[in-house]
Amino acid sequence: MSKVASTTIRDSLSVSLTVGAYGVAFGAAAVANGFTLAQSCALSLLTFSGASQFAVIGVLGAGGSAVSAIATASLLGIRNGLYGIVVAPILSVDGIKRVLASQITIDESTAVALRQEKLGPAAMRHGFWLTGIGVFIFWNLFTLAGALGAQAMGDPSVWGLDAAVPAAFLGLVWPRLTTTTARAVACSSVITALVLTPFAPAGLPIIATALIAIAIGSRKVKS
Protein backbone atom coordinates (compact mmCIF):
# COMPACT_ATOMS: atom_id res chain seq x y z
CA MET A 1 0.00 0.00 0.00
CA SER A 2 1.38 3.38 -0.98
CA LYS A 3 2.00 6.11 1.57
CA VAL A 4 -1.14 7.80 2.86
CA ALA A 5 -1.24 11.58 2.35
CA SER A 6 -1.52 13.61 5.56
CA THR A 7 -4.48 15.59 4.17
CA THR A 8 -6.30 12.31 3.54
CA ILE A 9 -5.69 11.23 7.14
CA ARG A 10 -6.78 14.65 8.42
CA ASP A 11 -10.01 14.61 6.39
CA SER A 12 -10.81 11.04 7.43
CA LEU A 13 -10.18 11.63 11.14
CA SER A 14 -12.12 14.90 11.27
CA VAL A 15 -15.13 13.31 9.66
CA SER A 16 -14.91 10.11 11.71
CA LEU A 17 -14.83 11.99 15.01
CA THR A 18 -17.51 14.54 14.11
CA VAL A 19 -19.98 12.02 12.76
CA GLY A 20 -19.00 9.31 15.23
CA ALA A 21 -19.76 11.63 18.14
CA TYR A 22 -23.29 11.89 16.81
CA GLY A 23 -23.63 8.22 17.76
CA VAL A 24 -24.21 9.39 21.34
CA ALA A 25 -27.40 11.08 20.19
CA PHE A 26 -28.45 7.93 18.38
CA GLY A 27 -27.73 5.64 21.32
CA ALA A 28 -29.62 7.89 23.73
CA ALA A 29 -32.53 8.34 21.30
CA ALA A 30 -32.77 4.59 20.65
CA VAL A 31 -33.12 3.81 24.35
CA ALA A 32 -35.59 6.68 24.78
CA ASN A 33 -37.69 5.16 21.98
CA GLY A 34 -37.96 1.80 23.72
CA PHE A 35 -35.00 -0.08 22.21
CA THR A 36 -32.78 -2.22 24.45
CA LEU A 37 -29.03 -1.71 24.70
CA ALA A 38 -28.45 -4.79 22.50
CA GLN A 39 -30.94 -3.62 19.85
CA SER A 40 -29.43 -0.12 19.76
CA CYS A 41 -25.91 -1.47 19.32
CA ALA A 42 -27.08 -4.07 16.77
CA LEU A 43 -28.56 -1.27 14.64
CA SER A 44 -25.27 0.64 14.64
CA LEU A 45 -23.20 -2.46 13.90
CA LEU A 46 -25.44 -4.10 11.30
CA THR A 47 -27.42 -1.30 9.65
CA PHE A 48 -24.58 1.23 10.01
CA SER A 49 -26.34 4.09 8.28
CA GLY A 50 -27.35 6.98 10.53
CA ALA A 51 -30.40 8.14 8.61
CA SER A 52 -31.85 4.62 8.33
CA GLN A 53 -31.19 3.96 12.01
CA PHE A 54 -32.91 7.14 13.17
CA ALA A 55 -35.84 6.22 10.92
CA VAL A 56 -36.21 2.78 12.53
CA ILE A 57 -36.26 4.08 16.09
CA GLY A 58 -38.40 7.09 15.10
CA VAL A 59 -41.11 5.05 13.38
CA LEU A 60 -41.32 2.35 16.07
CA GLY A 61 -41.00 4.90 18.86
CA ALA A 62 -43.98 6.78 17.40
CA GLY A 63 -46.04 3.57 17.44
CA GLY A 64 -45.46 2.51 13.82
CA SER A 65 -45.16 -1.11 12.72
CA ALA A 66 -41.93 -3.01 12.03
CA VAL A 67 -42.88 -3.12 8.34
CA SER A 68 -43.25 0.66 8.04
CA ALA A 69 -40.00 1.12 9.98
CA ILE A 70 -38.19 -1.20 7.56
CA ALA A 71 -39.76 0.50 4.52
CA THR A 72 -38.73 4.00 5.63
CA ALA A 73 -35.23 2.89 6.55
CA SER A 74 -34.83 1.10 3.21
CA LEU A 75 -35.89 4.19 1.29
CA LEU A 76 -33.15 6.10 3.11
CA GLY A 77 -30.69 3.30 2.37
CA ILE A 78 -31.08 3.56 -1.44
CA ARG A 79 -28.61 6.44 -1.33
CA ASN A 80 -25.82 4.09 -0.22
CA GLY A 81 -26.51 1.87 -3.22
CA LEU A 82 -25.97 4.86 -5.50
CA TYR A 83 -22.73 5.66 -3.67
CA GLY A 84 -21.68 2.04 -4.17
CA ILE A 85 -22.02 2.47 -7.94
CA VAL A 86 -19.82 5.58 -7.79
CA VAL A 87 -17.05 4.22 -5.55
CA ALA A 88 -16.87 0.64 -6.88
CA PRO A 89 -14.69 1.55 -9.91
CA ILE A 90 -12.25 3.38 -7.58
CA LEU A 91 -12.04 0.53 -5.06
CA SER A 92 -12.25 -2.39 -7.53
CA VAL A 93 -12.48 -5.09 -4.86
CA ASP A 94 -14.26 -8.42 -4.78
CA GLY A 95 -14.99 -11.29 -2.39
CA ILE A 96 -14.82 -10.53 1.33
CA LYS A 97 -13.31 -7.10 0.66
CA ARG A 98 -16.36 -6.13 -1.37
CA VAL A 99 -18.60 -7.28 1.50
CA LEU A 100 -16.61 -5.11 3.93
CA ALA A 101 -16.52 -2.17 1.51
CA SER A 102 -20.29 -2.45 1.06
CA GLN A 103 -20.97 -2.22 4.77
CA ILE A 104 -18.95 1.01 5.03
CA THR A 105 -20.36 2.58 1.85
CA ILE A 106 -22.03 5.63 3.39
CA ASP A 107 -22.21 9.41 2.90
CA GLU A 108 -18.96 10.02 4.77
CA SER A 109 -16.67 7.43 3.15
CA THR A 110 -17.93 8.38 -0.32
CA ALA A 111 -17.54 12.10 0.28
CA VAL A 112 -14.00 11.84 1.66
CA ALA A 113 -12.96 9.52 -1.19
CA LEU A 114 -14.23 11.99 -3.78
CA ARG A 115 -12.52 14.88 -2.02
CA GLN A 116 -9.14 13.17 -2.56
CA GLU A 117 -9.59 13.14 -6.35
CA LYS A 118 -6.75 15.60 -7.02
CA LEU A 119 -4.33 13.32 -5.13
CA GLY A 120 -5.13 10.35 -7.36
CA PRO A 121 -6.97 7.02 -7.12
CA ALA A 122 -4.77 5.62 -4.33
CA ALA A 123 -5.62 8.58 -2.08
CA MET A 124 -9.31 8.13 -2.93
CA ARG A 125 -9.12 4.49 -1.82
CA HIS A 126 -7.30 5.47 1.38
CA GLY A 127 -9.92 8.13 2.08
CA PHE A 128 -12.75 5.63 1.61
CA TRP A 129 -11.32 2.92 3.86
CA LEU A 130 -9.94 5.22 6.58
CA THR A 131 -13.19 7.15 6.82
CA GLY A 132 -15.46 4.12 6.57
CA ILE A 133 -13.56 2.22 9.24
CA GLY A 134 -13.06 5.34 11.38
CA VAL A 135 -16.75 6.23 11.36
CA PHE A 136 -17.64 2.57 12.02
CA ILE A 137 -15.45 2.44 15.13
CA PHE A 138 -16.49 5.80 16.59
CA TRP A 139 -20.17 5.47 15.63
CA ASN A 140 -20.43 2.13 17.43
CA LEU A 141 -18.44 3.20 20.51
CA PHE A 142 -20.48 6.37 20.85
CA THR A 143 -23.76 4.50 20.29
CA LEU A 144 -22.83 2.27 23.22
CA ALA A 145 -21.92 5.32 25.33
CA GLY A 146 -25.19 7.05 24.42
CA ALA A 147 -27.28 3.94 25.09
CA LEU A 148 -25.56 3.44 28.45
CA GLY A 149 -26.97 6.78 29.46
CA ALA A 150 -24.44 9.45 28.62
CA GLN A 151 -27.29 11.88 29.14
CA ALA A 152 -24.86 14.72 29.81
CA MET A 153 -24.05 14.76 26.12
CA GLY A 154 -27.44 13.48 25.04
CA ASP A 155 -28.65 16.70 23.40
CA PRO A 156 -26.51 17.14 20.27
CA SER A 157 -27.56 20.80 19.92
CA VAL A 158 -25.67 21.79 23.08
CA TRP A 159 -22.45 20.67 21.40
CA GLY A 160 -23.31 22.10 18.02
CA LEU A 161 -23.20 18.61 16.55
CA ASP A 162 -26.46 19.09 14.67
CA ALA A 163 -24.75 21.90 12.71
CA ALA A 164 -21.32 20.27 12.56
CA VAL A 165 -22.59 17.29 10.60
CA PRO A 166 -24.11 19.27 7.69
CA ALA A 167 -21.10 21.63 7.83
CA ALA A 168 -18.81 18.61 7.41
CA PHE A 169 -20.77 17.40 4.38
CA LEU A 170 -20.75 20.89 2.90
CA GLY A 171 -16.99 21.06 3.40
CA LEU A 172 -16.62 17.74 1.59
CA VAL A 173 -18.78 18.63 -1.39
CA TRP A 174 -17.43 22.21 -1.67
CA PRO A 175 -14.22 21.46 -3.63
CA ARG A 176 -16.33 19.73 -6.29
CA LEU A 177 -18.42 22.81 -6.98
CA THR A 178 -15.89 24.22 -9.44
CA THR A 179 -17.95 24.00 -12.63
CA THR A 180 -21.19 25.75 -13.53
CA THR A 181 -22.78 22.33 -14.03
CA ALA A 182 -21.79 21.14 -10.55
CA ARG A 183 -23.06 24.37 -8.96
CA ALA A 184 -26.33 24.15 -10.87
CA VAL A 185 -26.81 20.56 -9.66
CA ALA A 186 -26.00 21.53 -6.05
CA CYS A 187 -28.35 24.55 -5.99
CA SER A 188 -31.20 22.68 -7.70
CA SER A 189 -30.78 19.79 -5.27
CA VAL A 190 -30.91 22.05 -2.20
CA ILE A 191 -34.11 23.71 -3.42
CA THR A 192 -35.74 20.46 -4.53
CA ALA A 193 -35.00 18.66 -1.26
CA LEU A 194 -36.41 21.54 0.82
CA VAL A 195 -39.51 21.95 -1.35
CA LEU A 196 -40.27 18.21 -1.17
CA THR A 197 -39.65 17.87 2.59
CA PRO A 198 -43.16 18.85 3.80
CA PHE A 199 -44.87 16.51 1.31
CA ALA A 200 -42.68 13.46 0.70
CA PRO A 201 -41.86 10.64 3.13
CA ALA A 202 -38.48 10.83 4.89
CA GLY A 203 -35.61 9.95 2.59
CA LEU A 204 -37.41 10.67 -0.67
CA PRO A 205 -36.49 14.40 -0.87
CA ILE A 206 -32.80 13.44 -0.90
CA ILE A 207 -33.01 10.45 -3.27
CA ALA A 208 -35.19 12.45 -5.68
CA THR A 209 -32.26 14.77 -6.39
CA ALA A 210 -30.48 11.89 -8.14
CA LEU A 211 -32.93 12.65 -10.98
CA ILE A 212 -31.50 16.18 -11.20
CA ALA A 213 -28.00 14.72 -11.61
CA ILE A 214 -29.30 12.37 -14.29
CA ALA A 215 -31.18 15.13 -16.15
CA ILE A 216 -28.33 17.66 -16.08
CA GLY A 217 -25.66 14.99 -16.63
CA SER A 218 -27.38 13.70 -19.76
CA ARG A 219 -27.70 17.18 -21.28
CA LYS A 220 -24.10 18.03 -20.51
CA VAL A 221 -22.77 15.26 -22.76
CA LYS A 222 -24.75 16.45 -25.78
CA SER A 223 -23.39 19.99 -25.68
Binding site: R10, F35, Q39, A42, L46, T47, F48, S52, A69, I70, A73, S74, G77, I78, G81, L82, Y83, G84, I85, V86, V87, A88, P89, R98, V99, D107, A111, S157, V158, W159, G160, L161, D162, A163, A164, P166, A167, A168, F169, L170, V173, R176, T181, A182, A186, S189, V190, I191, L194, T197, P198, A202, I206, I207, A210, A213, I214, G217, S218, K220
Partner: protein
Protein backbone atom coordinates in the same frame (compact mmCIF):
# COMPACT_ATOMS: atom_id res chain seq x y z
CA UNK B 1 -39.53 -11.93 18.45
CA UNK B 2 -40.30 -8.32 19.32
CA UNK B 3 -41.17 -5.69 16.71
CA UNK B 4 -37.87 -4.01 17.56
CA UNK B 5 -35.80 -7.05 16.65
CA UNK B 6 -37.80 -7.63 13.46
CA UNK B 7 -37.14 -4.02 12.46
CA UNK B 8 -33.44 -4.18 13.39
CA UNK B 9 -32.80 -7.37 11.43
CA UNK B 10 -35.03 -6.51 8.47
CA UNK B 11 -33.52 -3.06 8.08
CA UNK B 12 -29.99 -4.38 8.39
CA UNK B 13 -30.53 -7.03 5.70
CA UNK B 14 -32.10 -4.60 3.23
CA UNK B 15 -29.67 -1.72 3.79
CA UNK B 16 -26.72 -4.10 3.36
CA UNK B 17 -28.24 -5.57 0.20
CA UNK B 18 -28.65 -2.05 -1.26
CA UNK B 19 -24.99 -1.24 -0.54
CA UNK B 20 -23.78 -4.55 -1.95
CA UNK B 21 -25.89 -4.34 -5.12
CA UNK B 22 -24.52 -0.85 -5.79
CA UNK B 23 -20.95 -2.09 -5.32
CA UNK B 24 -21.63 -5.00 -7.68
CA UNK B 25 -23.02 -3.19 -10.74
CA UNK B 26 -20.91 -4.48 -13.68
CA UNK B 27 -18.16 -1.98 -14.51
CA UNK B 28 -18.76 -2.27 -18.24
CA UNK B 29 -22.14 -0.59 -17.72
CA UNK B 30 -20.30 2.42 -16.36
CA UNK B 31 -17.86 3.28 -19.16
CA UNK B 32 -20.36 5.19 -21.31
CA UNK B 33 -19.36 8.91 -21.08
CA UNK B 34 -22.93 9.89 -20.26
CA UNK B 35 -23.01 7.43 -17.34
CA UNK B 36 -19.59 8.69 -16.17
CA UNK B 37 -20.87 12.28 -16.21
CA UNK B 38 -24.03 11.38 -14.34
CA UNK B 39 -22.24 9.30 -11.72
CA UNK B 40 -19.93 12.25 -10.96
CA UNK B 41 -22.96 14.48 -10.39
CA UNK B 42 -25.00 12.05 -8.27
CA UNK B 43 -22.96 12.46 -5.05
CA UNK B 44 -23.01 16.25 -5.53
CA UNK B 45 -26.81 16.19 -5.78
CA UNK B 46 -27.35 13.79 -2.87
CA UNK B 47 -24.81 15.41 -0.53
CA UNK B 48 -26.09 18.94 -1.27
CA UNK B 49 -29.64 17.79 -0.58
CA UNK B 50 -28.43 16.10 2.61
CA UNK B 51 -26.81 19.35 3.79
CA UNK B 52 -30.05 21.25 3.11
CA UNK B 53 -32.24 18.70 4.90
CA UNK B 54 -29.90 18.50 7.91
CA UNK B 55 -29.69 22.29 8.17
CA UNK B 56 -33.22 23.48 7.48
CA UNK B 57 -35.68 20.74 8.40
CA UNK B 58 -37.07 19.07 11.50
CA UNK B 59 -39.00 15.89 10.65
CA UNK B 60 -41.26 17.11 7.79
CA UNK B 61 -41.15 20.83 8.64
CA UNK B 62 -38.91 23.53 7.24
CA UNK B 63 -37.29 25.37 10.15
CA UNK B 64 -34.84 28.19 10.71
CA UNK B 65 -32.95 27.67 13.98
CA UNK B 66 -29.46 27.72 15.55
CA UNK B 67 -28.17 25.38 12.83
CA UNK B 68 -28.53 28.15 10.24
CA UNK B 69 -25.95 30.20 12.14
CA UNK B 70 -23.61 27.22 12.14
CA UNK B 71 -23.97 26.46 8.46
CA UNK B 72 -23.59 30.17 7.56
CA UNK B 73 -20.27 30.30 9.40
CA UNK B 74 -19.23 27.12 7.57
CA UNK B 75 -19.98 28.79 4.21
CA UNK B 76 -17.98 31.89 5.16
CA UNK B 77 -15.08 29.71 6.33
CA UNK B 78 -15.16 27.77 3.05
CA UNK B 79 -15.11 30.98 1.02
CA UNK B 80 -12.06 32.04 3.07
CA UNK B 81 -10.47 28.66 2.19
CA UNK B 82 -10.23 27.59 5.85
CA UNK B 83 -8.96 24.02 6.49
CA UNK B 84 -11.65 21.37 6.89
CA UNK B 85 -11.42 20.89 10.70
CA UNK B 86 -11.69 24.68 11.16
CA UNK B 87 -14.87 24.74 9.06
CA UNK B 88 -16.46 22.01 11.18
CA UNK B 89 -15.36 23.33 14.58
CA UNK B 90 -16.31 26.95 13.80
CA UNK B 91 -19.71 25.79 12.67
CA UNK B 92 -20.29 23.66 15.77
CA UNK B 93 -19.14 26.40 18.15
CA UNK B 94 -21.37 29.02 16.52
CA UNK B 95 -24.41 26.77 16.50
CA UNK B 96 -23.86 25.75 20.14
CA UNK B 97 -23.55 29.39 21.23
CA UNK B 98 -26.70 30.45 19.38
CA UNK B 99 -28.55 27.44 20.82
CA UNK B 100 -27.44 28.33 24.35
CA UNK B 101 -28.37 32.01 24.17
CA UNK B 102 -31.62 31.83 22.20
Amino acid sequence: MSAQWVAVIGTSLITFALKFIGQSVPQKWLTNPRIVGISALIPIALLSALVAVQSFTEKTNLVIDHRVAGISVAIIALFLKAPFPVVVIASAATSALVYKYS
